[in-house]
């Protein structure tokens, strides 16, 4: 693939700041007069706080203030949430998981704050706890929340359906056709259960927030993926006008969903308010691991087929472990329910997804919410079915795949990719890496939950430099490069003249947030529209000066031209405004009603993925390695090709981590490996020696230049592709992630035992 020069250049500016160490992240922010906060966390999974004595801590030299549950009554709203109002700003009468913030000490230095934590005395009145989702469903399970307060259309469209008197905070179902009848007619019915653990985001920059009040106005610097969600929640909690809250997001050291919605911001702001000083709280990576995680899942699938391997019906029961607070868990359940269907033509469906509270770290969005859990189950089962029916696994998929334009559910947009063709490309690519004869394969399609609401400003300054203002956050996915490329193309300017400002709610228009692979499409269109608006205004101005119609004019780098005559922006503004200053501001807000777009049906595009791999097993130890990996994604158009490829590679290696070793482990309500030392993420040595990414670009997406969103799909097929390769080559099937050496070794022993 040849890369247009401008695309590479667009990425270079941000990368340059990062390779030189000049890029500023949230954890690099400091403001005058700033004090430092450290958090005391619950040591127990579930308890009433009988007594919390912070007198000695408060008296320590250098301590400014201590925030505790006693301060909750001073807030306009003491609890917050996005679907359910379930999370206290700081633990009040009880704690619900090990790691929950109980007290926040603010001191002159982090060391003093840390020392003061030891001086706080807590008496717990222990309550029965539940650290497992199945147990949380039992009729006599301890309840984490006595009542549920669901909020509608707050940040996500619709609302969660909690069940009173239970730990269930979301209950979502899909039902089409007549599954009972189809099962009666079926030649084969397969039922299996697959499990997927809670997984840590492990973004390399931990959560970090600085909060400063200036009179009644609040400024927050945070590595937040959704600045406007943070702004909205803070406005509720502290009773401030949106216009009095400014959220600034510098570069973010990795998000993956773990910095989406709202995390520690309300807590830090409450501490700053009490301290009467700006406060910085920079978590350690270990603390970030106690802040959020991917929801674990247990998924039972009952799939019925006719004699020829055509799927007649599918029943799915999904149970998600949502942890102590719902956060975006209700949306995760919806996505898992859709994703578990697969890109297949199935007339009869009964899918039920429940998410429950447990006394564990709160669940949260994580790269393709609910997707990897669902695809692990669906695509593992497809291979189990293929094997039982003696059908080639690729062939079984071909017999059931929806064509381009087919409908997974009638309520959703038709499929906009040809997954059969992607399967073919995956097969060719792995063969050209010298493998594939016993490869595992998996396919996936997911409907990103995108709210088409986001705006931007494009300011063309007098000297020809251009500032783009947007609340899309650079979490490493290179969104600024994409926006720069779109503006450069629309205005026909050099990418080097375009700067994308840090997201800042005081200056950039509303945007729903950075996640769900939406920024390239939504913010891409917003800056394209804003640039077009600027272009229209400039040509209008120029027409009056050239004394011609705007149609005879065109933008050229640095100015406007009619025929051979070129007028620089500076000269244009000089003649139009009387001084050689001023600017033209293009503005745009993408909404569900955007002209020329079909945003009526969701998703705006499907994120599709095919993964295939070869594995190598050490049968003595159970150690499994991925030797070749190919990922195929249909992304419409790669505006930033190197960035797009990098997203796919990163997603596939994260997927290898999920498949082989990642798991947030609980025993007796205690997280036993929630530390960077004990929790293993992939290292350079775990990367397949031969890897390749195929990007399909048909220019058929809804975004600028025909782009679709991307960045999440690549993680979906990884675990089942590995599991399927293991089963195909070595004859052992693992249904519980991660596929640790111990699990594989046991399965090998069983295989050999069965054989003898």
């Amino acid at each position: 693939m040849t890369k247009p020069a401008t695309d590479t250049n667009a990425a270079r500016a941000d990368l340059l700041e990062k390779v030189t160490g000049r890029a500023v992240y949230a954890s690099d922010i400091s403001v005058p007069g700033m004090a430092h906060g450290r958090i005391l966390r619950s040591a127990v999974p579930h308890a009433r706080i009988a007594r919390l004595d912070d007198a000695a801590a408060s008296a320590l030299d250098g301590v400014v203030s201590v925030l505790t549950g006693e301060d909750l009554p001073t807030l306009a709203h003491d609890r917050w949430g996005l679907f359910l109002n379930d999370r206290p700003v700081i633990a009040g009468e009880k704690v619900r998981y090990v790691g929950e913030p109980l007290a926040l000490v603010v001191a002159e230095t982090p060391e003093i704050a840390e020392a003061a934590l030891d001086l706080i005395d807590v008496d717990y009145e222990h309550l029965p706890f539940v650290d497992d989702a199945t147990a949380a469903l039992a009729p006599d399970a301890p309840l984490l929340h006595e009542r549920h307060e669901s909020i509608a259309d707050f940040y996500f469209k619709g609302q969660a359906k909690p069940v009173d008197g239970t730990n269930i905070f979301q209950n979502y179902g899909v039902s089409t056709g007549d599954v009972d009848a189809a099962e009666r007619d079926a030649a084969h019915v397969f039922e299996q259960t697959y499990t997927f653990p809670g997984i840590s985001h492990f973004a390399i920059e931990p959560h970090s927030v600085v909060a400063a009040f200036d009179g009644g106005r609040l400024t927050v610097w945070s590595g937040a993926q959704s600045p406007t969600a943070v702004q909205k929640v803070l406005s509720r909690v502290f009773g401030l006008a949106l216009s009095d809250i400014r959220i600034i997001v510098p570069f973010v050291g990795g998000g993956f969903g773990g910095k989406a919605s709202v995390k520690i911001e309300p807590l830090v702001v409450a501490a700053a308010r009490k301290a009467g000083r700006p406060v910085r709280v920079a978590l350690t990576l270990e603390e970030s691991m106690l802040t959020c995680r991917r929801l674990g899942a247990s998924i039972t699938l009952r799939t019925s087929l006719d004699r020829d391997g055509k799927i007649l019906a599918k029943r799915g029961t999904i149970l998600l472990d949502g942890g102590a607070y719902a956060d975006t868990g209700p949306a995760v359940a919806v996505k898992a329910a859709h994703c578990v269907i697969g890109p297949y033509d199935i007339a009869n469906l009964e899918i039920e997804a429940k998410a429950v509270y447990t006394n564990t770290v709160p669940g949260a969005a994580f790269r393709s919410i609910g997707g990897p859990q669902a695809v692990w189950a669906t695509e593992s089962q497809m291979d189990e079915i293929a094997e039982a029916m003696s059908i080639d696994p690729v062939d079984l998929r071909h017999r059931n795949l929806l064509p381009r334009g087919g409908e997974i559910l009638d309520s959703l947009r038709a499929l906009d990719a040809d997954i059969g063709e992607m399967l073919g490309q995956a097969g060719q690519a792995i063969a050209s890496l010298g493998g594939g004869s016993a490869a595992g394969i998996a396919v996936a399609a997911t409907d990103p939950g995108i709210l088409p609401l986001g705006g931007s400003l494009v300011r063309v300054l007098a000297d020809g430099s251009i500032t783009v203002m947007s609340n899309s956050v650079d979490i490493g996915q290179g969104v600024r490069a994409v926006l720069r490329a779109v503006v450069a193309k629309t205005l026909n300017q050099d990418v080097g003249s375009i700067r994308v400002a840090d997201p800042d709610t005081a200056t950039a228009p509303f945007d729903w947030g950075t996640g769900a692979s939406r920024s390239t499409v939504i913010m891409g269109l917003a800056v394209e529209d804003a640039a077009q608006d600027a272009s229209d205004q400039i040509l209008e101005l120029a027409a009056s000066i050239f004394d011609g119609a705007p149609n005879d004019l065109r933008l050229v780098p640095g100015g406007v031209a009619r025929g051979e005559d070129v007028l620089s922006f500076e000269d244009l503004y000089h003649r139009a405004f009387g001084i050689d200053s001023g600017e033209v501001v293009g503005r745009a807000m993408v909404t569900p009603a955007r002209k020329g777009s079909d945003f009526a049906k969701s998703p705006l595009f499907w994120e599709t993925a095919v993964g295939t791999c070869d594995v190598e097993l050490d049968e003595m130890t159970g150690e499994l390695a991925v030797t070749r990996y190919v990922g195929v994604a249909d992304i419409g158009h790669a505006i930033n090709p190197a960035g797009a490829e990098g997203q796919e590679e990163g997603a596939s290696v994260q997927g290898i981590g999920h498949a082989l070793y990642e798991q947030l482990d609980y025993r007796e309500g205690q997280p036993v490996n929630a530390t960077p030392v004990a929790y293993r993420v992939p290292a350079a040595a775990d990367v397949p020696q031969h890897a390749h990414t195929v990007l399909i670009e048909n220019g058929d997406g809804p975004g600028p230049m025909g782009a679709k969103g991307m960045g999440e799909g690549g993680i979906l097929p990884v675990a089942p592709a590995i599991g399927n390769a293991l089963a195909r080559r070595y004859g052992v099937r693992i249904r519980d992630l991660p596929m640790t050496p111990e699990r594989i070794w046991r399965a090998l022993r069983e295989r050999d035992h069965d054989a003898s």
Binding site: R12, V19, A23, L285, E649, G650, Q654, A684, A685
Partner: protein
């Protein structure tokens, strides 16, 4: 509180004299006293390599080294690479190969690579992977990082 020590060191090529508390970590000394914010802090327990700096040419986790132990040493951070007129070849290779996304791990990887190439100018893929095992990147999947380092091997 703990005692104060006078230390002298070369910091990014410039001589520096400082008074540091005995318990001050090198990462804090560099970030807070010298505004070298390219030294990143993540795990704080010598797992991730984000805080890597070069001490007498060797890659060291500054989150677990005391500032006083840098007395007499030469310390190089990401800010000390390249010059006003250009990037260090390792920085250039990371840029060229797109070997970074969020960039938070990048200073550590670049300095670890500098150290590798100083002792082994033509490392094999295995040697690269082995040498970088103390640095974690959660974004890139390492592929492009390995390619960038391979491109520098002579």
């Amino acid at each position: 509180m703990s005692s104060i020590h006078e230390i002298t060191l070369m910091l990014n090529g410039d001589p520096v004299e400082a008074a540091v508390a005995a318990h001050t970590l090198l990462v804090d000394f560099l970030r807070d006293s010298h505004a070298l914010r390219g030294v990143k802090r993540s795990c704080d327990m010598q797992v991730c390599g984000a805080c890597t700096v070069l001490v007498d040419g060797r890659p060291v986790s500054s989150c677990t080294m005391l500032a006083v132990d840098a007395d007499g040493a030469s310390v190089v951070t990401i800010e000390g690479l390249g010059g006003p007129d250009g990037l260090d070849p390792v920085q250039e290779a990371f840029l060229e190969h797109g070997a970074l996304q969020c960039g938070f791990c990048t200073p550590g990887f670049i300095l670890a690579t500098k150290a590798l190439l100083a002792t082994n100018p033509s490392p094999s893929r295995e040697e690269i992977v082995h040498h970088l095992s103390g640095n974690i990147c959660r974004c890139t999947g390492y592929q492009k990082i390995i390619e960038a380092v391979e491109s520098l091997a002579r």
